[in-house]
Amino acid sequence: MTTKAGWEFKEGTLPDAGAFAPASKNSGDLQQIAGRPTTYWSDAIRRVRRNKLAVIGFWVIVALFVIAIVGPMLSPYTYAEQDLTNTYQSPTLRHPFGTDQLGRDQMTRVLYGSRISLAVGVVCAALNFAIGVTYGGIAAYFGGRVDNIMMRIVDILYGIPTLIIVILLTVLFKDRGVNPLVNVFIAIGLTYWLPMARIVRGEILSLKEREFALAAKTIGAPNNRILFKHLIPNAMGPIIVTVTLEVPSAIFTEAFLSYIGLGVSAPVASWGVLASDGTEAIRSFPYLVVFPALAISLTMFAFNFLGDGLRDALDPRLRQ
């Protein structure tokens, strides 16, 4: 379940070397480019709405959330209700996704699982975004010794086996009565922002030497303004690619965590848990893995379409 390659390899950065930032129409007034947040965002939304795929992605995500909230209530079964005389039923009208090894309705379980998996996917992507972008941005912007120390800390966190950290967390959280999902958020928030930090840092290292950043510095713009208003918006491309790709990783990481004992306990099952449990029966009962896997893929596609639309909309260089 622990996919070392799967988690740790989420690296990537796009320093646009050689690309001069298009110093928009009126290059004497660089300070003002990011200076009008309202226009910037309303402009961005307008541009997202013009992107057909992004709109589809957006509505699919909305639909997924509505289904996650309403779906389990509409089902005639519950996620836990077993029928040991009806195990491993192929999909029928009564059980559109079939039944599992305990005769539970797989569709209800997938519907219910979407609550956990969507929450995990969205919150963890947001956490990675917030921690990773800030950390990587600061390291690269200040550079030199700050960069060396901060990135060596990242290397250290990379090096310590995640499994040990996670097992220690299960011990730490034991009998604390904390919401199990919060435990998952903490575990993922602690260890999974590292690739994002490296990506942003690589990007900013290159961007901060560009003319527009140097110019902003010359006219005395404060550091946090340069970093968050000029540099990070220019790095949105790789950031969004990474964030959207981290949604499915977070969903599968949650499944791994729940095997160790972090997260929601059985009989509640997330998509990740359903998919990996289903894999064990893949030869004879492939439908058990197909439906949760499809649900994860659908979410993945929706987030990516929306992400691509957002990327185009937020990239200052593409603004007209």
Binding site: A80, E81, Q82, L84, T85, T87, Y88, Q101, L102, G103, I167, T170, V171, S258, Y259, I260, G261, S265, A266, P267, D277, T279, E280, A281, I282, R283, S284, F285
Partner: protein
Amino acid sequence: MRRVLSVVLMVALVAASLFGAVSCSTASKAVVQEVTYNLGTEPATIDPALSQGIPEANVILQVFDGLTRIDKDNMPQPAIAESWVISDDQKTYTFTLRDAVWTNGTPVTAYDFEYAWIRALAPETASQYAYQLYYIKGGEAFNMSVKVEDKYYVQAVDAQGNPVTKKQGDKDVPVPDMTKEIVPSRDVAVKALDDKTLQVTLESPTVYFLNLTAFPTLMPVCKAVVSTNDKWAADVTNFVTNGPFTLTEWSHNDKMTFVKNSTYWDKDSVKLDKITYLMVTDESTALSMFQNGQMDVGSTVPLAELPKLVASGDAKIFPYLGTYYYMFNVTKKPFDDVRVRKALTLAIDRNAIVTSITQGGQVAALAYVPYGIADATPGSDFRRVGGTFYKDNDIAAAKALLAEAGYPDGKGFPAFTILYNTSSAHKSIAEAIQQMWSKNLGITCTLKVEEWGVYLDDRNNLNYEVARAGWIGDYMDPNTFLDMFVTNGGNNGTGWGNKAYDADIAKAKATSDPVARMATLHDAEKILMTDMPIMPVYFYTNPVLITKHVMNFYQSTLGFVDWKNAYME
């Protein structure tokens, strides 16, 4: 993804087939006496004294021959020992050895056995199965002794009988009692009288001692080699053995190769020329390799595929001496009340669990000691003699007991947790039991999974309410299941204790009359099943993937495989 993959793969394949590299090993089934077996994991060692469990045993038993060897009826038969005489008090065994040789050409002598057993007991060897030699007089004391330079001493005890330790730096070291030296050759009662005669004296009569002489830890080792080379079992080059097969290759985590030992004393009954062990851990992969003809016998079967494979004849279910049970922490409320424990025990449907979930021919456990252990009279079975102690799925009785305990229809029953370790089978069973208790008794509980080490730690520290557990016997006697539940026993794990029970177990140990001894053990089990610190769920079975070409495959009820008499057809 797959479309691109298949294109790329096709190209790769065409290239590969041009070089003739594609291998499909389904051809030539013309009774080549070779077999491929999936051991399932890398053995931790091939040194008999250091064996840790079944994977090691399944290597050691092919390459070593002990005093006895277990036959297909699970009875010990003469092996290196040609014959033996048991004294009237059933404590002294005198074995006469046959002419046999090590793979380096030297004869197997009684001195090799004496050396091997003393070595396994020596504290510095740190053998994990040393307790299988505690039956020998002086064995336990030697294993527990303190080594000072080259000599062993009994650990000193204070006036209360507690062992004495002292601080050395930051560390507590046992203090030796310098007046009580243990000389293994004098104080451990295993003695080579001459090359061909081995005499063993036991602490107390032990009816299953002959079975134990076939256990991996009690295998002889070649004294001349092992005493001079502590790396003798590091690889195959210096690995001197005396069994039906010799180990010729050990590629770690990949495979082992055995070939027939041409110097084995009973080589005429060995038919296989070559055995290959694979170490495929993934059950689904092992099944694919089996179906692809890459292995003939596999030690694991994926749960979901089991019924189909049994029906098609590709899997066979072997008996396994073990019980799957739930334990109650009797030190916590409400599980300190025997009525609660009984109510919970009665309120589950074991038949549904074995027929719908485990599906491997397991038997619903209505008692603790499993089937397959001989009782006092020949041909009888301990379980059949002892009978059952309760009915399966006896909801009415369960409800009555629960009401009597003060929780009518489960009202007011405190919330509790079922603890299990990571495994989808444990999870399914826990989910089913959770629902049965909820439906039948109106009791709600939550499930909690833990990583293996965390789970063991919580279990051992009584940091749980209800937990799953399993026990596989070490030898063919009810004692291997019963003596663990003595008060404060290392494997008790429930906090339960009962003086009458302890007395029974102690009495059984000292009794040499088989009928009286078995009666005492039946009595002990009855006490256990009256107090119910544990809730038996089912008796294990051991499913194996096996092609119909393999004949005489033997897997003991302890899970040990022996290829000596197997052949291909």
